[in-house]
Amino acid sequence: MRGLAGRALLLALAAGSLAMGPGAPPPEYGRVVLGRSARKAGVPAVGFDHWRHRALFTCRLCHVDVGFAMAAGETGVTASTNRSGFHCGACHDGKRLHQEKPLFAACAEGGRIDDPAAACRRCHAGPGGAARRAEEFARITAGLPRDRLGHVDWERAEAERRVRPVDQLPGLSIPRRPLEMKKEVAIASGAAWMDGILFSHPKHSVWNGCEVCHPDIFPSTHSGQARYSMLQISSGEYCGVCHGRVAFPLGDCERCHKRPVR
């Protein structure tokens, strides 16, 4: 009984503190709005959907090699950086092919936001567009496995070879061998009634490398030294930097808490 009440409390905390996270429908989940430089330029904010890109690229490629920060406002992406072949322009350069078609050039010279034929509105969409996003989400993620909350199960999708995220971008990435990290880390649960966590380094390092998590998100590797709670995680710290925002939501407890209580 105490266990059930505890779990219910945790779920309520997680859902309450992340109204736009776990509660968001899958097409809206992981949507990031980049408005800082757009506002300065007097154009609508950019809406970036992680699910559009996640089947194609690892997290590491964009957040390390391309240089997108994990925290809002720290990247410094502008039309100028895009035009120079960085940030969005690292891929969206009008030349790189996707499904045998060149990708549109981000912030191309001469593009006018009020021209419906220009590509500007593909990113600078502003608010709204949920119905169109839902349609595109259904089309792009058709056939991919789902978790019990209806989100795409990207881990299973890759294990079943339905998606093959690329980890290198020629000209920008440093060619190197894949990371071999086999260490599983057992983390005790803070609550006696909740199963412990078996953190898989191999699963995380395939997509993130080392730099995405260490040291900014996890400043210590020694077991027991870093102490963090579900409240911190649901507030967007530690695991909550990704889980609850982009990676699977916190409401799916058993995906992490799967180590039987001894």
Partner: protein
């Protein structure tokens, strides 16, 4: 002196043409532009992040020092390049320092 047979003359002419041809050919394209020194150093320094846990303390210290030495060159780059590469360099440096610190704690 009799003229050599036509076939021999043709062969000689072909040989002379072949010998002269390299000079007439357009110059080969220049070798691919070499990467600037900062980029070569950046690639070398940040290529070791995958192996950071296996590096010795001396190697980690040397990589941190090379990151610090490279930063001023990156800060002189054009704005877009500077933003991306200083961020990436900071990530490499922080990781090496993090592994170094974790060794010290053991």
């Amino acid at each position: 002196m009799p003229h050599p047979p036509r076939a021999v003359r043709r062969a000689l002419a072909a040989l002379l043409l072949a010998l002269a041809a390299p000079a007439a050919r357009p110059a080969p394209p220049p070798a691919a532009a070499a990467a600037p020194a900062w980029r070569t150093e950046f690639d070398e320094v940040c290529a070791r992040t995958q192996d950071a846990m296996a590096l010795s303390v001396e190697e980690l210290r040397s990589l941190v020092a090379r990151c610090d030495a490279l930063l001023p060159a990156l800060e002189k780059l054009a704005e877009s390049e500077r933003k991306v590469f200083t961020r990436r360099l900071q990530a490499c440096r922080s990781l090496y320092q993090f592994v170094l610190d974790s060794r010290g704690q053991k």
